[in-house]
């Protein structure tokens, strides 16, 4: 399942680039993210993501690996994890590209998401729809977080 989001934010490319490495603020933008931590700065991170569809609750500890860095324009990462209880896995490739647009910045988010295991019983269309909702919420949160007054953001 592939998703594309273009997020135009009133901030400089450098500010957006710095934001991508702020794990606390990034974690706040990921729907269902319960916790996140740095394993090796700039290389590996861990996050716990909990998502629910009706009675189906998925709890996935994600290993996130940064695979390409071209400051301040591109960041590629891959994430994978497995809900042991539900016997379902998630693999995700994330490609973030930053480009200036006048006084604003466009953050292009491309993601490729695969869900495996018992969760697939929900059906591909249902999962794709939910994943699309999550990616849209992620993009909206990113925009909101990025456009917060910087003084406010610094105090969070």
């Amino acid at each position: 399942m592939e998703f594309d989001q273009d997020i135009t934010v009133a901030a400089s490319p450098e500010y957006v680039w710095a934001f991508l490495w702020d794990i606390e603020r990034m974690a706040r933008c990921i729907p269902g993210c319960q916790s996140a931590r740095t394993v090796i700065a700039g290389q590996r991170y861990e996050a716990l993501v909990v998502e629910r569809v009706g009675p189906f609750k998925v709890q996935i500890p994600l290993d996130i690996e940064v695979v390409e860095v071209s400051a301040p324009v591109r960041l590629r990462a891959r994430a994978s994890g497995r809900d042991a209880g539900m016997g379902s896995g998630l693999q995700m490739q994330l490609d973030l590209a930053i480009s200036p647009a006048g006084s604003q910045t466009v953050l292009r988010v491309h993601s490729n998401v695969a869900v495996t295991g018992r969760l697939a019983v929900l059906g591909h269309s249902m999962i794709a729809r939910k994943a699309g909702e999550i990616m849209t919420a992620f993009a909206q949160s990113l925009k909101r977080e990025l456009e917060q007054p910087q003084a406010d953001a610094a105090t969070l």
Binding site: V53, G54, P55, F56, G85, R118, M126, R129
Partner: protein, 290 residues
């Protein structure tokens, strides 16, 4: 294998609701269990506490309030009870007719109408039919009670407006008037329906003109939907000249039903089938006037 759980059997809704609040994500309500126990056995959901609603007195009652003109169907009434109950058969016979076609006898004997609506499995019949009645869903907790129009109840596949600690206490249905007839038509190749179309047709006293039409489509997408645009294309038309308008409305219904690809068929196939079944349901409802 079904994982171990503690079964709580409260006497009233307030206690049941408070128990879900107390145990949080580890608890859920249990009525017929025809869906819940299956997903627990499959390991798709895990609850250490099941709050049995069947021990709550009066929650399975089916009554008709003459003054209000409402039929009240208790949340733990089984499909079989709806199929057989004299109040249902007298005031809303199409509900009995549809319930007779739900799943199989084993499911109908223990599965409840409240469980069916709250589980919101997309491939289900009753929700689609109740949309054509503009039914209201009563939800109660230990904090408050509220009524939700069924059009606002289904939020998506397996998701509804019900909060985790709210019990669906009853579905309130106003029977159709003397100039209304309805039909529910479905088909499927698997155990669950691929498509369901409910249609309620109201004619004028002379039975020549269409006063009102309600069209609901279910099973093809995340949740059943009313198709207001299709209804508007039929309302006010003469029955004798309905052909082209019905074709156009059926096309609109096919496009508006939010069909998705799944094991039951492609979205494109479902859209085509909706067109066919909207037309069939209309003609079936119209034939019931003669």
């Amino acid at each position: 294998m079904l994982p171990p759980f503690e079964l709580h059997q409260p006497d009233d809704v307030r206690t049941a609701s408070a128990l879900v609040d107390r145990y949080g994500d580890a608890a859920t309500f249990y009525a017929g269990g025809t869906e819940l126990l299956l997903i627990m056995k499959e390991g798709l959901a895990a609850y250490r506490h099941l709050i049995d609603l069947k021990t709550i007195s009066g929650l399975s009652q089916i009554t008709y309030d003459e003054d209000a003109g409402w039929l009240s169907i208790g949340g733990t009434a089984t499909h079989y009870a709806l199929e057989r109950h004299p109040v249902i058969r007298r005031h809303v016979p199409i509900v009995a007719e549809v319930e007779r076609g739900v799943a199989n006898l084993r499911v109908r004997s223990v599965g409840t109408i409240g469980g069916n609506l709250c589980f919101a499995e997309p491939h289900a019949d009753p929700g689609t039919l109740f949309l054509t009645f503009d039914a209201e869903i009563d939800l109660a907790s230990h904090e408050e009670t509220r009524a939700v129009p069924i059009g606002q109840f289904f939020a998506g596949a397996f998701e509804t407006a019900r909060r985790p600690h709210e019990v669906l206490t009853c579905i309130r249905v106003r029977p159709w008037g003397p100039h209304t007839r309805g039909a529910y038509m479905k088909f499927g190749m698997h155990e669950r329906p691929t498509l369901g179309v409910a249609l309620a047709l109201t004619l004028d006293a002379g039975r020549r003109g269409i006063e009102d039409v309600r069209v609901a489509v279910g099973c093809v997408g995340p949740a059943p939907v009313r198709v207001g645009d299709a209804e508007a294309m039929l309302t006010g038309r003469a029955l004798s000249e309905i052909g082209p308008h019905l074709d156009a409305a059926a096309r609109v219904a096919g496009d508006a039903a939010d069909a998705v690809d799944d094991l039951h068929g492609s979205a494109e196939y479902k859209r085509e089938m909706i067109k066919v079944f909207v037309r069939r349901a209309f003609h079936a409802a119209a034939a019931r006037f003669s």
